[in-house]
Structure formats: C-alpha cells, structure tokens
C-alpha cells in the first residue's frame, strides 16, 4: 500500500513535469516561427539588390513561463531557439552598427534577464554560440558583397571577425558543444582572409597598409 502511494506521488510529480514541458514546447514553437520569419527578412542582405532596412526587425519576446520553477531543468528545450535568437540579435546589431552585440543588449532585445536570479536568463554559452553563428553568416556575406560589387565591406568584416577570433582565444573552453562551434570559426576566418587576399592582390581593396596595388 505504502509502495503504491509512493509511486502515485512520483507519478503526480512526473506528470506535472510533463505539463510544463508541453507548455514550453508550445512557447518554443512560436519563438522558432518568429525566428524563422526574422531570418527570412535578414537573408535579403545576401541579395545583390541589398538590404532594405525598413522592417521593425526585432520584436520583443518574452518567454511567459511560470518562473517559480527551477528553470534550468528544462534548458534543453529552448537552448536551440535561444541560440538562434541570440544569433539574430547579434546579426541585426552588426548590420545596423557593425559592432558586436553585448550580452546585455541581447537580453534587452529579447526582453529577458542576464542574471539567473532575476528570472529567465540568457546563458553565457547560448550568447557565445549565437555570436559564432553570426560569424559564419558574415563570412558568407563577405563573399556575397564582393559579388554585389561592394569591395569595402569584406575588409570591415575581416577586421571584425579577427577581433572576434582573438577575443575567443582568451576563453578557456572545455571540450563541449561551444568548443566545437568555436573550432568552426577558423574556417570562417580563413574564408574571409581569402576574400581580402583576392581583393588586395587585384588592387580592388582600399586598405591602408595593403600596398599591393598595381
């Protein structure tokens, strides 16, 4: 009898968990949809016609979850979408001002907290992952802006990515997913360096110090 009671207690706990999971899943689904919509708008930056900055790009997102729960238990469920949103925020900020988004800015844009104590927060790993995703997107942008005839943007991207790379070098990364993402950064750096090389060797780049012009 007592065994039975114990199990029914645990069952209640588990099914409450299940409900929370369901709720999170619904919220995450909505967020993923929004993230895709934003990405679709942003993708036009790769087109030759360029990017028309006429959209109110970032809406405010609030994860309306009951904060009384210890939330990191469910982190897995929104990790992906949060990294994606961090990427989008970083990308938008870069396109607007060519600066690196800070963690505080991302949380402001997304309407969430930096500190875990204050409520739903952005993990440092998720923020960094988002930044790394942006780096790959920028290496693609560098190639495409050359195709569109913009030869100065790749140089600016190159500086930015190099700074980013040296910044990441300061971190002690464990052998975890973030480390794997970081390992991909060197390919982005390489690609942009090739673009810059191609441009400077043909005298298309106007960079002080790259004196190889014809």
């Amino acid at each position: 009898m007592s065994v039975n009671e114990m199990f029914s207690g645990i069952q209640g706990f588990l099914s409450a968990d299940q409900d929370v999971r369901e709720d999170i899943r619904k919220v995450v689904q909505g967020l993923e949809q929004t993230a895709r919509e934003i990405l679709t708008v942003l993708q036009s930056v790769h087109q030759a016609s360029g990017f028309k900055d006429n959209e109110p790009l970032m809406r405010v997102f609030v994860l309306s979850l009951s904060l009384s729960l210890s939330l990191s238990r469910f982190h897995e469920h929104w990790r992906f979408v949060l990294q994606r949103l961090a990427f989008l925020a970083a990308f938008v900020v870069y396109l607007e001002s060519e600066t690196l988004v800070t963690r505080e800015e991302v949380t402001q844009i997304l309407g969430i907290e930096v500190n875990r104590e204050k409520g739903f927060h952005l993990d440092i790993e998720d923020y960094l992952s988002g930044v790394l995703t942006m780096a790959s997107e920028l290496s693609r942008l560098a190639v495409n802006s050359v195709t569109a005839g913009d030869y100065s943007r790749p140089l600016r991207i190159s500086n930015f990515i190099n700074e980013l790379d040296s910044g990441f070098r300061l971190l002690n990364l464990k052998n975890d997913p973030l480390r794997k993402r970081y390992d991909g950064l060197k390919y982005d750096v390489k690609k942009i360096e090739e673009v810059v090389y191609d441009l400077s060797i043909r005298g298309l780049a106007r960079e002080p110090g790259s004196g190889g012009e014809e």
Partner: protein, 255 residues
C-alpha cells in the same frame, strides 16, 4: 481453414501490390534520372529546344508509369503504400521542376505538377490485377495522382543540387549570366526552405544542410567570376567580352 486461407490471400494481395509499386517507382526513378542527365546537356548543345522536346517525350513516358501507380491506388489509402513509391515521385518532381526551370527560369508549383498528373480516360483500360473490387464504380472518373507536399519539397530540394551542377558547368562554358541568375534563384529557394526550417519532416531538415552547401558552392562560383573576371582564358574572351568590359569599368570606378 478457410479463414486462414482468406488471411493468406489478403496478405499476399497486399504484398504483391506493394512490390508492383516499388518496381514502378524504380522505373520512374531511372527514367527521371535519365531525363535530368539529358537536360544537363543544355549547357553544351546549341539547340536547346531539341533537348527540351526530347525531355518532354521522356517525361511523358514517366507520366504513364505514374498513371499505373494511380491505377493501383484506386480505392486504397495513399499513405498505406506511400513508402513504396515515394523515391520515384521525388525523382519525378526533380526532373519536372528542372525542365520547368530551364524553360521558364522559375519554380514549378505543386498545383502545376498535380494538374499534369490528371489522366483523362478516353477508353476503358484493362483493369490491372489485384485491384480491389470497389474500383468498379470509380472507373469513370479521371485517374489522377496527387503528389504530397512532402514529396514535392524533397524533390525541389534535390532540384537545387542539379541547379548547382548546372551553374558550375555553365561557368565552364563561359556563360557568365547564368551563375548569377542561379545564385539568386537558389537563395530564394533556400530562404523558403529555412522558413520551413525544422517544422517539416526529418528528411526536409536534412536536405536543408545539403542545400546550404550547394548554395555556398554557387555563391563561391559567382564570387570567383566577379573577382577573377579578368583571368578568364583567352579563348573565351570573345563571348564574355561585353560582360568583362562592364566589370572593368565598375572596378575602375571603385579603386
């Protein structure tokens, strides 16, 4: 005893039908692949119309096969046998959309594909073996086959791979405009697919990755064309001269 035999018969009928569908699907795949190979020749032959006409003939043959599938499926649940013929249908979508792209430079719609797969009967055709009896009253209706949205998506995803190859081979032939046109088109398709993202079935998200790689290759090709435009081999200079002149002008404007 008789019950057991009835079960056996029912099961055998089902298996036979499944096998026939698999076989048809394989035939469709082979023919569609051949059509695609044929269509790849448009970059190297002078007469595009001839190739298109030949591909039209081949696709008509494929449509007849699809009609056989449609006949097998009369009165059946499509999804019960879906796995048997989905590879063939995807390949067909790929071939048809490839042909459509070469003709129109646009993406064929699912509605258009389905419209081409409605077969109006002019004479009563022989009933294939193993058809369930309730097909009798449906015989007067036009036979039609509906491509599912998933098959359409997967076929289009494969199309992008073909377009990538088309792009690379047209670079090889000194065609400067096609790669840029293709990269724009592929970007649109990619944006479309990333809008669907992971809401679609598993295979779609898997193909999204391949699509990204294809797009990367095409973009790299365009980049190389733009940057290295001045290094095109001499024998091609004649046909790209006008493009190159414009390129040099714009370069001078910037540097």
């Amino acid at each position: 005893m008789s019950k057991k035999e009835a079960f056996q018969q029912e099961l055998d009928t089902k298996h036979d039908k499944y096998e026939r569908l698999v076989k048809l699907s394989r035939d469709i795949t082979i023919e569609s692949k051949r059509t695609i190979f044929l269509l790849h020749r448009v970059t190297s032959v002078p007469d595009v119309e001839e190739v298109l006409a030949e591909s039209e003939d081949k696709l008509d043959g494929v449509k007849l096969k699809i009609k056989l599938i449609a006949l097998e499926l009369i009165g059946e649940d499509l999804y019960q046998y879906h796995r048997a013929f989905t590879p063939g249908i995807q390949e067909y979508v790929e071939a048809v959309s490839f042909q459509h792209f070469i003709k129109e430079r646009s993406l064929i719609s699912l509605e258009q594909i389905n419209k081409d797969l409605i077969f109006i009967e002019d004479k009563k055709n022989e009933e294939p073996e193993g058809l369930s009896s309730d097909s009798q009253d449906e015989k007067d209706k036009p036979v039609c086959f509906q491509v599912t949205p998933t098959d359409y998506l997967l076929g289009v995803a494969d199309l992008t791979g073909e377009l990538m190859r088309l792009c690379i081979s047209s670079v090889g032939n000194g065609d400067i405009d096609t790669p840029f046109e293709l990269s724009q088109f592929l970007r649109q398709v990619y944006d479309g697919f990333s809008y669907i993202g992971n809401t679609g079935p598993y295979e779609v998200s898997k193909k999204l990755y391949t699509l990204k790689q294809s797009l990367g290759k095409v973009e790299d090709a365009c980049y190389a064309l733009k940057v290295r435009g001045s290094e095109i081999p001499k024998h091609m200079l004649a046909d790209v001269f006008s493009t190159r002149a414009a390129l040099v002008e714009s370069d001078e404007g910037i540097s």
